[in-house]
Subunit: 102 residues, 2 copies
DNA sequence: GTGATTTGGTTTGTATTGCAAACTAGTTTC
DNA sequence: GAAACTAGTTTGCAATACAAACCAAATCAC
């Protein structure tokens, strides 16, 4: 019974800003809030909310510290986050490549 | 100024069910409502709503007719819809393939 | 010093969405 | 002709996404 070719897409990752954050973090390992804000061109408010959601899902860690006297928030992916991203990408391929079977 | 690597993703296509519909229609040209319902495993209500949105966007056409005495709704992509899908896929690649630059 | 500005974020409010339950219209079965 | 099924739409609610408003602390202007 083949009629179920579309795997569910992780709703946490299937959103532009969160996906962009994951994408950035995959390339740089570790990024500060302001860097993510630049790269994604998101507002701080939106970014803050989405980072918290990714943290709650265990996809990334948020570390609050100080750069000198200025507060600084750093983010890094967890293994769980990396795995989730890979699963998501794999699932998504099915949607993006129609007519794969001859 | 390179800090804008993430193109916006067409919000109409960046949704699981609508994307699945587009994907199915790309492979079969023309599909009836019930076939789409099977393939996507969506509820009829949800499918109906999403098809209407895609139609309003000009991404597909909805043709209502009869198969014998039974009403039958057929859907087919428009060139606009196909183009939108391709644009979406291209934009999305940027998110899915981190670290593409050496 | 003290008021204004900037930096680095968080909270809150709202408008939009996604979705399924409930409904409508007609057909077939018994 | 009532019950049950097919084909699809409408409606109502719960969850999201997002930005405006806000807060705290540091720095700048004078």
């Amino acid at each position: 019974m083949p009629p179920a070719p579309f795997d569910d897409l992780d709703p946490l990752l299937h959103q532009q800003l969160r996906l962009a954050v994951m994408s950035v973090l995959l390339t740089v390992q570790d990024a500060e809030f302001t860097f993510l804000k630049e790269q994604t061109t998101a507002t701080a408010g939106n970014l803050s909310v989405q980072l918290t959601k990714l943290q709650e899902a265990g996809y990334l860690t948020i570390t609050k510290g100080y750069k000198g006297k200025v507060p600084q928030t750093r983010c890094a992916l967890t293994p769980v986050g990396i795995a989730a991203f890979e699963t998501y990408v794999t699932a998504l391929q099915r949607y993006l490549q129609p007519k794969r079977d001859t």
